[in-house]
């Protein structure tokens, strides 16, 4: 299955969407991914805690659609699925990543986030991987300054990155993340941030409870 710049494709894309995430986020590094599945020196590989995480995100962000039927420029048809926030269309496609505008009025490769669902997912993967890296740094710093604090497990690290992906937490500020470090019965622990926005918590829960289609079409 290759990317389809425009038009409709009728094939299962769920496996491919998820494989982009699982193949790219399995590597542990001691500096950015110290979470618990990365044992020993914190190196090696670590299977993604939620293999179908990107399908869950796509279901929440775009109802798993790269294109939607609408009228644009007098043309009824399948157009890239645009964000509903005003101004509409700032974010596009399956994973609702930022539309990178081409210069001028012609189709150009940066528009691939809109017209090519594979590019859309790959861009989202770059963003999500970067966020997992930030979470790893926050985690490592927290472990260094809180003796006895356990590493996050992969699922919790994903939740932290999800809150950021949803636009509810700054990348590097520890106090606004999904989990914060608190002392519980004399022991430092990761606990759900009591001050995290309820809308952000709802977003993470929605992603976790999403029901991706078994197979879907690109539109």
């Amino acid at each position: 299955m290759t990317g389809v710049p425009g038009g409709i494709c009728n094939a299962s894309i769920t496996n491919e969407v998820d494989s982009i995430y699982t193949s790219d986020n399995a590597v542990c590094t001691s500096s950015t991914k110290p979470w618990s599945c990365c044992s020993g020196a914190g190196t090696g590989s670590c299977p993604a805690a939620t293999p179908n995480l990107f399908s869950l995100i796509a279901s929440t962000e775009s109802s798993y659609t790269q294109f939607g039927y609408t009228t644009a420029n007098g043309l009824d048809g399948q157009w890239p699925k645009e964000s509903a926030t005003v101004p509409a269309g700032k974010y596009v496609g399956l994973m609702q990543v930022a539309l990178q505008m081409a210069q001028g009025n012609t189709y150009a490769s940066p528009m691939d986030t809109a017209w090519n669902w594979l590019t859309n997912v790959q861009i989202a993967d770059d963003i999500f991987s970067q966020k997992l890296g930030y979470i790893g740094v926050i985690e490592k710093n927290a472990m260094n300054s809180h003796p006895g604090l356990q590493a996050l497990d992969g699922y919790d690290a994903e939740n932290m990155a999800l809150l950021q992906y949803g636009g509810f937490a700054s990348p590097t500020l520890p106090s606004v993340q999904y989990y914060v470090v608190l002392k519980v019965s004399g022991i430092w622990e990761w606990v759900q941030n009591p001050h995290a926005s309820t809308k952000g918590q709802a977003y993470v829960t929605k992603v976790r409870n999403a029901t991706p289609p078994n197979s879907t079409t690109c539109n």
């Binding site: 509409a88 990543v97 918590q201």
Partner: protein
């Protein structure tokens, strides 16, 4: 082999030199004069995005893998130094910070910003020589491409030790906003009526209900035209059409010209929130919200949840309990968290502060 190596070496040297040249061309914002009285100060002569990005990356301890959504310098603290208001994006939403240069280093204040916003506006709202920062935040929940997010402008000001939400002190600003939103609603309603009349005319006969757009006219004012033509989701003016394709010379049916229903929902929700905030009517917007809560569209029901939590009257909370048992999972989740918000009290817009030095850039992220 030698033939291969030489061009590669040459290329490498070129890269090294061009990299150094670039680095040299980007001024070091950290060491520049941030004072208000500096000749051609940073507010009047803003630095390049590259210089701003370099500073943000250094302070946050992250690699420069982001773009600047917006940035400007403003006299927010009356301390003699300007403050940098900057928002950045890694390909998703913008993250807003205020950076202050003090005698002991840099202070970084992180503010909540709405999903629809690129940055913040600096304004001397009361005309007293003190500048405030107006930040568009989310009032309703984020629903991806399914529904718009209603916005709520929060006014921040420097209060001596940090930036705080001072919205309560600027009711006149919100009254002006309300007037503006009401005009917007009237305009959208007029468009809606026009579209409905158009649809009725269309059903009477196609010859009397079509518009022929001349391509040249569309090119002259593509934004207005694309809005009239109903580009994007539910008729809002999206990114497509005007950018990607030349306008169609084919006559358009009026039925295709439909108002942006979602934008109207959000504008109405924003206006009624201001009415509640100003104490005009504590239940303002309740009838609209009930309509959305009863809608067949789960996106509307989810949208209603956040508004019911904001209204927070016993009737609203009862409706929220009903939504928390909705057959649609997303609606039920949104309503449960909205109920949690009701128990916590009104949303508090806090500012999180961080003082330099930042955390080091990990090798894996470089």
């Amino acid at each position: 082999m030698k033939r291969l190596i030489s061009p590669i070496l040459l290329l490498g040297i070129c890269f090294i030199f061009s990299g150094k040249a670039l680095a040299a061309a980007t001024p070091n914002l950290a060491s520049m004069d941030w004072s208000v009285t500096a000749q051609g100060n940073l507010a009047a002569s803003p630095p390049s995005d590259e210089a701003v990005a370099a500073l943000v990356a250094k302070l946050e301890g992250i690699p420069q893998n982001f773009t600047i959504c917006s940035s400007h310098f403003a006299n927010l603290r009356n301390s003699g130094n300007l403050s940098l208001v900057v928002s950045t994006s890694d390909g998703r939403f913008c993250d807003l910070n205020i950076i202050d240069k003090t005698s002991s280093g840099f202070n970084l204040s992180n503010l909540q910003i709405g999903h629809a916003a690129d940055g913040a506006v600096t304004e001397d709202i009361a005309g007293d020589g003190h500048f405030e920062l107006i930040v568009s935040t989310d009032f309703t929940g984020y629903q991806g491409a399914q529904h718009c997010v209603a916005k709520w402008p929060v006014i921040y000001a420097w209060t001596g030790t940090g930036y705080s939400d001072v919205s309560d002190q600027y009711k006149d600003y919100y009254a002006r906003q309300l007037t503006s939103l009401q005009k917007e609603i009237a305009m959208i309603d007029a468009k809606k009526n026009m579209a409905e009349e158009g649809s009725a005319a269309l059903s009477r006969g196609p010859s009397s209900s079509t518009i022929t757009q001349a391509p040249s006219a569309i090119n002259e004012d593509s934004e207005t035209q694309s809005e009239q033509m109903g580009n994007g989701l539910s008729g809002s003016s999206g990114s497509f059409g005007a950018v990607l394709l030349q306008p169609s010379p084919v006559p358009q049916q009026l039925a295709a010209i439909r108002p942006d229903r979602f934008q109207l929902d959000c504008t109405e929700a924003e206006a009624s929130k201001i009415e509640r905030f100003l104490g005009i009517d504590q239940e303002a917007g309740m009838s609209d919200t009930i309509k959305w809560a009863d809608s067949d569209d789960p996106g509307d029901r989810e949208f209603a949840a956040a508004i019911l939590a904001d209204i927070a009257t016993p009737d609203a909370v009862r409706d929220l309990h009903t939504l928390s048992r909705d057959s649609n999972g997303d609606v039920a989740i949104a309503a449960k968290y909205a109920l949690k918000q009701v128990h916590q009290g009104p949303v508090v817009h806090t500012v999180d502060q961080e003082r330099s030095p930042p955390m080091p850039v990990p090798r894996a992220l470089e």
